[in-house]
């Protein structure tokens, strides 16, 4: 008898991801779908697509979905969750979307303790528009708008979102994970699952920051990009739980 060892989660459509080789989006999409499936919410979830490479999220998930204005997903998700308090509501946002143009929306949604989950992809660069500097671009890191490398004297230093949001009382769960190694991917899935569980228990706002890669705009191979996550990104963006109200943290 053949045994199924691995299959596509029910929450994903049959459409092939358009993401570049070595990009973290595909992994994270899959993790979300797995978690939602395991919680039995495949037909009970609404996902908010950002502006950025993940704008095509509605093509890949079987959930009801919405294309949000740039940075506004937390406001839009607020409207959705308040209307459907028993649905699982997820925003999926990149670093330009969440930490630059949408900073006000994410802070206030978190401060209000809105009961949805944000999956925040931090790859330190604008992907879809072609590699411009993000608020999370590391010092010295080259982008098309910081061609000699990010100069903190000119551009300030990168913003650490988990640390910033953890100062608020509204969030119930905040964790930073990465998807550069199998061990980290397993940990990332556990974090997403926990965040969704906290949402389900209506404990407050939850956010999982995923330190990810953008080989195309970083100008690296897929393998080198994953190495860069480990050697450069994670040291600046330490992994771990920043807020967990159940653990008194």
């Amino acid at each position: 008898m053949p045994t199924t060892l691995f299959k596509k989660p029910n929450g994903l459509t049959d459409k092939k991801f358009h993401y570049c080789p070595g990009c973290g989006h595909g992994i994270v999409h899959r993790l979300i779908a797995e978690c939602v499936d395991e919680m039995g919410d495949t037909n009970n979830t609404i996902i908010c697509a950002p502006v950025g490479c993940a704008v095509f999220i509605p093509n890949y998930f079987v959930y009801d979905s919405i294309h949000c204005a740039h940075g506004r997903a937390p406001a839009t998700a607020t409207g959705i969750k308040r209307t459907h308090p028993d649905k699982t509501v997820i925003t999926y946002q990149g670093d330009g979307d969440l930490a630059s143009i949408g900073m006000a929306e994410i802070i206030h949604a978190a401060a209000r303790g809105e009961k949805f989950t944000t999956v925040f992809i931090n790859n330190g660069i604008y992907g879809m528009t072609g590699g411009q500097m993000a608020p999370t671009t590391l010092p010295g890191m080259k982008s098309t708008t910081s061609q000699s490398g990010r100069d903190p004297k000119l551009n300030g230093n990168p913003i650490r979102i988990c640390e910033l949001l953890a100062t608020l009382t509204g969030p119930a769960y905040i964790e930073r994970v990465a998807v550069d190694s199998p061990a980290h991917v397993i940990r990332a899935k556990a974090a997403i699952k926990k965040a969704l569980q906290y949402q389900k228990e209506k404990l407050g706002f939850s956010l999982v920051e995923v330190v990810s890669s953008c080989p195309t705009n970083w100008g690296k191979t897929a393998v080198k990009a994953m190495e860069f996550v480990k050697t450069d990104m994670i040291p600046y963006y330490p992994l771990g739980v920043y807020k967990d109200i159940k653990e008194g943290k």
């Binding site: 495949t42 919405i66 406001a75 607020t78 409207g79 206030h108």
Partner: protein, 352 residues
């Protein structure tokens, strides 16, 4: 029920609740603050959600989510705040979100002044979001009409799945008049939310669409809007009032507060033997065409609390720009009936 005396802004809030509004998001700005103040107190009692958003931008995007989830929803603001909402209004248009935007205009540009103005005629009828689109704009001239129009706006929004703007000014928002909340508004047939809204897909995903990467598909969607929504709205939803037009040789064209000033001016002018009436558009888009076909009218005198933003619409409707004259005050100044009388005599005198 007997009439009650109410401030325009509070009456708008009450009308929204009566219309079944279940979600309101807004940000404080004068002269519409009584709308969120009223709803913060009353909407939760009616089983709805009130959110004081972090910004106007957030408020309209909350509507995008709530309306996209099938909730009857409204936001309210004033000129600079409506300017901030424009991007989100574009998303609500493209995503086909039924929602009501209450706009209580003040003098501009910029922070301008907080006094009443009609300087947002273009902002409402032309809009500031990107792309080709129209939004129905209802312009009440009294608190009673504001109440009726808010209720109708929710119906129109549902029928065509579009944002609807109710454009007032600070005068309508701040004044008190007796109002009857029991004037019936026709409930209208519309596509049930279970067929399109988020939260009702059940594995057959409902998408609120903000992007169509494929240009031919994007064009197709635009053309569908024009054919299925805008052409129908232009045919079905035009509203206007004609006042003392039966024997008129001249016509004021005015909406909202300025139309009331014209009515006072008409009394004085008629006492002086000038046969003048009023054409009052109640919808600014779609703009009425029929009353402007009146061949007895020698001059159409557009009176606004701005620098003449409606003139091009009047000239197009009259199809003779030489027959269209204008007088207005702006920046929060309200013309007095006496000023309007004087300006009219000058205009008519010059035409003889």
């Amino acid at each position: 029920m007997a009439k009650v005396l109410m401030k325009g802004n509070e009456a708008v809030g009450k009308a929204a609740i009566q219309a079944g509004c279940k979600f309101f998001a807004g940000y404080p700005i004068t002269p519409q603050n009584e709308v969120p103040e009223y709803l913060s107190r009353e909407l939760p009692l009616a089983g709805g959600t009130f959110i004081q958003s972090e910004s106007e931008v957030a408020a309209i995007n909350m509507l995008y989510g709530a309306g996209g989830s099938g909730a009857r929803c409204m936001t309210s603001s004033s000129s600079p705040g409506i300017a901030l909402k424009q991007e989100g209004i574009g998303y609500c248009v493209f995503g086909e979100i039924p929602c009501v935007i209450n706009s209580v205009a003040r003098g501009g540009p910029a922070l301008g002044t907080i006094q009443p103005s009609q300087q947002d005629y273009n902002q409402a009828t032309r809009g500031g979001a990107n792309g080709d689109y129209h939004i129905p704009v209802l312009a009440p001239a009294s608190i009673q009409e504001a109440v009726n129009f808010i209720k109708e706006a929710f119906e129109i929004a549902d029928v065509y799945r579009t944002p609807v703007i109710v454009l007032e000014d600070g005068l309508i928002g701040q004044m008190m008049e007796p109002v009857d909340f029991d004037v019936p508004v026709k409930k209208r047939e519309h596509t049930p939310k279970s067929e399109w809204a988020m939260g009702y897909g059940n594995g057959n995903p409902h998408l609120i669409e903000g992007i169509v990467m494929d240009a031919p598909m994007c064009e197709k969607k635009n053309r569908r809007f024009f054919k299925e929504k805008y052409e129908v709205i232009e045919k079905e939803e035009v509203r206007y009032e004609e006042y003392m037009m039966d024997d008129a040789e001249y016509a004021f064209v005015a909406y909202g507060s300025s139309s009331r000033i014209c009515k006072t001016a008409i009394k004085t002018l008629r006492e002086k033997g000038i046969k003048i009436g009023l054409i009052r558009p109640q919808t600014l888009w779609p703009f009425p065409q029929v009353p402007f076909q009146n061949k007895n009218i020698k001059l159409f005198i557009d009176i606004e609390m701005n620098m003449g933003q409606m003139v091009p619409d009047v000239a197009l409707a009259v199809n003779d720009k030489n027959k269209v004259k204008f007088f207005g005050r702006c920046g929060g100044m309200i013309p007095s009936p006496e000023e309007v009388v004087e300006a009219t005599e000058k205009i008519i005198g010059g035409a003889k």
